[in-house]
Amino acid sequence: MTDFSLSCPLPLTDQKTILMAHGGGGRMMQRLIEQLFAPAFRNPILDRRHDSAILSLDSAAPRLAFTTDSYVVQPLFFPGGNIGTLAVNGTVNDLAMGGARPLWLSAGFILEEGLPTETLQRVVLSMREAAEAAGVQIVTGDTKVVDRGKGDGIFINTAGIGVITHPLTLNPAQVRPGDAILLSGDIGRHGITIMTEREGLSFESAIESDCAPVVEPALSLIEAGIAVRCMRDLTRGGLASALVEIAETAGVTIRVREDDIPVRGDVRAACELLGFDPLYVANEGRFIAFVPAEEAERALQILRFHPLTAQAQRIGQVEAGEPGLVSLRSRVGANRVVDMLSGEQLPRIC
């Protein structure tokens, strides 16, 4: 045994190029938004930093919600959906999270030279079906084609407009100590579906994406008179990132219980195998709602009435404590801090 040398390499501090993690829904993406986009485009509407921009022309007319999202999934088709259903449901869900009823969507297609027309047809047809199911119309669009090798088959951008017909303002700043946190169903299915399809992993049971429009259950809470403070759909970065983001924006502590967070057995098994934490795995049809504690039971009953959110659970509550802290009571009965990941989760060695 020679002498110990107690050293490590220099840090990689400057991000001179864009990395995949900049789109991963974690800290690196958050920092890119904070350091580049937000200061560049600064205005009072953007500065609210919610899933949708809330717009009003005059105080007498109902407010509008406006949002956009781009879809770059591989494979294009997966159990439970495809890039087209994602492109409709994702944008529709963003609008619903702002408390808006989605009305109109735009659809922009970036197609790669050589893409079979039949593939595009299948995607477009499922977009039509998804739009019908969500009660929206696709009212404008655009098509571009790029050289072979410069796209991934199909990229889709959708933007959406919805109308807000109630006086509530839904955003993280409304969240306050005492509020209950409701989760609309089991988590992790979409991310694990994509992962297993992309990597050719096979499990005994087939896992299907949870891709779905959550408009009806989400809006039914508001229509029933529940004073919803904030809703957030759990996409990239999963439940954990959404909780951390809201705790930080609202300046509150959030406490959740691992036992109350539903994760299907096959999803848990896949996560154990890959070294993933289901809290960080992406969803496309799940959301959390912050409601006053005294209305939590009624809100749960309303959610459980809808087939899509029949498994809704109360997973925790908001407390005054340390701003931005999310704490999870683990299954064996100890507490741990839940933080946002830097980028995407990477499968481990052993």
Binding site: M1, T2, D3, F4, S5, L6, S7, C8, P9, L10, P11, L12, T13, T17, I18, L19, M20, A21, R27, M28, R31, E199, L201, G265, R268, A269, E272, L274, G275, E322, G324, L325, S330, R331, V332, G333, A334, N335, R336, V337, V338, D339, L341, S342, G343, L346, P347, R348, I349, C350
Partner: protein
């Protein structure tokens, strides 16, 4: 879920915790060797369930963390070549070299891919005969059999476009190095269950005897670890220093002979440098001369790369259990998962990353 839920039972955990408190009469410092155990301890908050005097320190058993800087640099150099498809397990991609990591090589145009098994890399080599497929073989005795099998298969198929960058390390020499270090405060060890599933427990008898230290082969679920701690503390309290097997549902005394045979056929024991710790004699595995044609260092002429690690972070002390991650002045300040100073902040099994992820800004208060 079967084989998971029964090892995460809160009532049983509380009973182990109570039993530990009952038998503990003085302070003890135990080291869990494996990064997977460190991760479980922090993730489930198991250290909060121990009596006050029983302290867990985290060992060097994170393969990502101890892979030396020069090996990372070799990987980066090979991965950047246009003819190469560089295959690695996922958590190696973010480990910082001197100036970049594999993710940045990928962003600059390198073909870097995550695989789940070395055999996937062999399959890839078969499918892409015009490219050089290189697999980054890191890990302890646990991953060695599969890596040996991959080389063995590549030989049988006569593949000329497959090679391996080997940075394998072995557990017993690392335990011995820790016991020999002047500042060692470790009273007992929780040995890594999956390493022993492959290698058996026989190599640990001389260590326990020579250094008068109990070694309990332990699994990775919360109840495994709590029971391992209980068995280890019981030995210490009774003045015993034996090798015991908590993980008997997986570990046989002689280990997996077929896997050991495969390892011996393809690999030989070599001296290995451990990142943050230094050179440890006979602590690694390298390809045998008969398999030299599959050695990526030779194939790409990077064998001579030698690098000194600049003195920036204290991961060496963390990896030997001399300090906790939160005792490092850079922890959570200049060193975070976004901007890691060392590999222990990167890997999901790294002690610093586990503390940061599950303790966050409260780490200092709770530690």
């Amino acid at each position: 879920m079967k084989y998971i839920d029964e090892y995460r039972d809160a009532d049983l955990a509380a009973r182990f915790s109570k039993a530990l408190k009952r038998i503990t009469t003085r302070p003890w410092t135990l080291m869990e060797v494996c990064g997977g155990q460190t991760h479980a301890i922090i993730k489930f908050g198991l250290d909060q369930m121990l009596p006050e005097g029983v302290r867990l320190v985290h060992g060097p058993g994170c393969p990502v963390c101890v892979t030396p800087l020069e090996m990372i640099e070799k990987a980066l150099e090979i991965a950047a070549r246009p003819e190469v498809i560089f295959c690695s397990f996922g958590d190696m991609l973010r480990v910082p070299g001197a100036e970049r990591d594999l993710l940045r090589v990928k962003a600059a145009g390198g073909d870097v891919r995550i695989v789940y098994s070395p055999l996937d890399a062999v399959t890839l080599a078969v499918k892409t005969p015009d490219r050089q497929v290189v697999f980054f073989a890191v890990g302890f005795e646990t991953t060695a059999p599969a890596n040996a099998l991959a080389v063995h298969q590549a030989r049988r198929m006569g593949l000329t476009n497959f090679s391996m960058l080997v940075s394998h390390v072995l557990v017993p020499p690392a335990i011995e190095a820790i016991l020999n270090s002047p500042g060692c405060r470790v009273n007992g060890f929780l040995a890594a269950g999956h390493v022993c599933t492959v290698m058996g427990v026989e190599e640990y008898y001389p260590l326990a005897q020579r250094y008068r230290v109990p070694i309990v082969v332990t699994g990775f679920e919360p109840l495994d670890i709590l029971q391992g701690v209980l068995m280890c503390v019981k030995q210490l309290e009774e003045g015993r220093a034996e090798v015991e097997n908590q993980y008997s549902r997986s570990v046989r005394s002689e280990g997996n002979r077929a896997a050991q045979h495969l390892i011996q056929r393809v690999f030989q024991v070599v001296p290995r440098r451990w990142r943050g710790i230094g050179q440890i004699p006979a602590s690694g595995l390298g390809l045998r001369p008969e398999y030299a044609e599959f050695d990526a260092e030779r194939r790409f002429g990077v064998a001579d790369c030698v690098m000194e690690e600049p003195s920036e972070c204290m991961s060496g002390l963390v990896l030997q259990g001399l300090i906790k991650p939160t005792e490092c002045p850079a922890f959570g300040m200049r060193c975070t998962p976004d901007h890691p100073l060392g590999a222990t902040m990167v890997s999901s099994e790294g002690a610093c990353a586990a503390y940061y992820r599950y303790r966050g800004r409260c780490a200092e208060r709770q530690a």
